[in-house]
């Protein structure tokens, strides 16, 4: 496969429109992410940020506009091993017990579509588990983990394919401080290694120093695309409004209960 030129954006979204049922959720979203960039997608609940990332990975059909991944039209994009996806979940468990290693191994299948896993695949899985600091729990069951550790498992699963692009949907939701720290340092290592990151965040939080650019959505439209807005809120206290300076007039509500 031809390598695309370095200048080709990793993600290129043009005029994306999408609807859930009859309600338009995205109304002409433009979003470009270049190689090596860390872009945060911010906005209140219902602003369309989750729908935006899910449309990038082809899980929400567009009603208008185009999406390109690594310069290839998304519908024709097949090289999914280059994309690591962390869905918005509160748990990595399912109806049957599974170990951390078993769940993370699922993420490696994009590299090994057929046949058995090779030694290199197993090594990549162990590396991904070690990256999120769960090496000592690798053989343990996921349902014994805390909420933050579940999130770390999901991130390790995304890292198992050694992706160039990481797409994360609210990786910090419900994550304890110890895990937030681990996630931030994991992300820092990935970025230092040249990874491109698009992540949906409710607020910048401990990831703030890593973020190159923030795109703020409101009612399915991009209202800010530039340097991350200054964090001015006190803390994520329940019911506490964070007032962002770019949103003159009506404050953007990003508190936990908004």
């Amino acid at each position: 496969m031809d390598r695309e030129p370095a200048a080709t954006p990793v993600i290129s979204v043009r005029g994306a429109a999408a609807a859930l049922g009859a309600r338009p959720v995205l109304r002409g979203v433009d979003l470009t992410v270049h190689r090596g960039e860390v872009v945060a997608l911010l906005g209140a609940n219902g602003s369309g940020k989750s729908t935006a990332v899910r449309s990038v990975i082809g899980q929400v059909p567009l009603t208008g506009g185009t999406i390109e991944l690594f310069g290839t039209e998304q519908k024709r994009f097949r090289d999914w091993a280059r994309v690591g996806y962390v869905p918005q979940r509160t748990t990595a468990a399912s109806g049957v017990p599974a170990t951390v290693r078993e769940v993370v191994t699922s993420g490696r299948l994009s590299r090994r579509r057929f046949g058995r896993l090779a030694k290199a695949d197993r090594a990549a899985v162990e590396r991904a588990i070690a990256l999120v600091g769960l090496a000592d729990r690798a053989g343990g069951p996921v349902d014994a983990l805390s909420g933050g550790q579940h999130q770390r498992v999901l991130i390790a699963r995304a890292l198992a394919s050694e992706p160039e692009l990481l797409i994360m949907d609210e990786p910090m939701a419900g994550v304890d401080l110890a895990s937030q720290e681990v996630l931030a340092s994991t992300l820092r290592e990935q970025v230092a290694g040249g990874a491109t990151v698009l992540l949906v965040l409710h607020e910048l939080g401990p990831l703030e120093p890593l973020i190159d650019r923030a795109v703020v959505l409101r009612d399915g439209c991009v209202v800010h695309d530039g340097p991350p807005p200054e964090a001015v809120g006190q803390h994520a206290l329940p019911g506490h409004d964070h007032v962002h300076p770019h949103a003159a007039g009506e404050p953007l509500r990003t508190g936990l209960l908004s």
Binding site: I57, G58, Q59, R78, W80, A81, V83, Y85, P87, R89, S94, G95, V96, P97, A98, T99, E102, V103, T105, S106, G107, L109, S110, R113, L117, G139, G140, P141, A144, R157, S161, L177, A178, Q180, E181, A184, L204, G205, P206, L207, E208, P209, E230, A231, V232, G233, Q234, H235, H240, D241, H242, V243, P251
Partner: protein, 300 residues
């Protein structure tokens, strides 16, 4: 080993062994997907196939396989694409299949309610040599799929959306699970009967996971329990006048209860170990990331 003497008993034990292997092997994925009752639905649909087999004077096992596969594909499509109430659509399919079976079997000249009962509740003594051939072929297919594709099926059953993003053929794998479940139902039909098939898919898995912590161990444990209960249930009916399906299912539930009782002290010990780990003073030494700026100008 006098129970191995009669040919019907040899056939019964072969059938029971294959059922004991295949039913939990598929069941573990259904339980993982939280579709534990899917097997029950397919069992109802397969009734129509049995009736059709009698009416057309062809093999009820192969007819049931055909209809069950069609029914399971329909169920999977309803699950995947159905925008309306999925459970209602499934109910229509279940009871339509059941009613169709009863009607067709009564229409056929060779079929009778006694015949129907043997398919509903299982009847080992009537397992014919042709049945054994059919069951063996179908069981080989089930084992090939559930073991050979275990990582892919695990991934799809664990997190469907993530599996799609890794580029796995999720639609095809979902259909494959549905078809394999349908095939398993018809494998198990002669031994445990259509009404109790689902129990042998689900109960050994539920029993195994009382003790296990990994998917791999759950899979192996469930198959082991499935084999033990179906063989011992079949042997019981050799000595005692009892329906095989009900005996096997009650044994499985007995194993479940036993393992649950065993698991309680085990879980307590694991919880204590975890507690001891958490009490480690180093674990409490958490550095709080300095993400926020101290200059707060929040409007409250």
């Amino acid at each position: 080993m006098e129970f191995l003497e009669p040919a019907f008993m040899q056939r019964a034990l072969i059938a029971a062994l294959l059922v004991g292997i295949t039913a939990p092997a598929v069941g573990v994925y259904l339980v993982q997907r939280r579709q534990a009752l899917m097997g029950d639905g397919i069992g109802h649909v397969a009734m129509t196939g049995v009736g059709l087999g009698f009416l057309l004077n062809s093999s009820p096992v192969w007819m049931a396989t055909l209809v069950a596969v069609a029914g399971s594909v329909a169920m999977e499509l309803i699950r995947a694409y159905g925008k309306t109430r999925g459970d209602l659509a499934l109910a229509l399919l279940f009871y339509g299949g059941m009613a169709g079976g009863v009607l067709l079997i009564n229409l056929s000249p060779t079929g009778s309610n006694a015949n129907l009962t043997s398919y509903l509740f299982g009847s080992l003594t009537t397992v014919s040599p042709e049945d054994v051939t059919a069951i063996s072929v179908l069981a080989a297919f089930v084992v090939l799929v559930t073991v050979g594709l275990r990582r892919r099926l695990f991934a799809v059953s664990q997190d469907e959306e993530f599996a799609r993003v890794t580029g796995l053929p999720v639609r095809a794998l979902n259909l494959l699970i549905a078809v394999t479940a349908a095939v398993t139902v018809t494998v198990a039909m002669r031994v445990v009967g259509l009404l109790l098939v689902s129990a042998l898919m689900v109960v050994p898995v539920a029993a195994a996971q009382q003790l296990t912590r990994s998917f791999r161990a759950t899979f192996a444990g469930a198959v082991l329990i499935g084999v033990v209960v179906s063989l011992s249930g079949t042997l019981t009916t050799y000595y005692v006048e009892a329906p095989p399906g009900a005996t096997i299912v009650l044994y499985a539930i007995g194993v479940f209860v036993l393992l649950t009782l065993l698991a309680t002290p085990l879980a307590r010990r694991r919880a204590r170990a975890a507690e001891a780990e958490a009490a480690d003073p180093a674990a409490c030494d958490v550095r709080v990331p300095a993400g926020r700026r101290p200059g707060d100008d929040a409007r409250v």
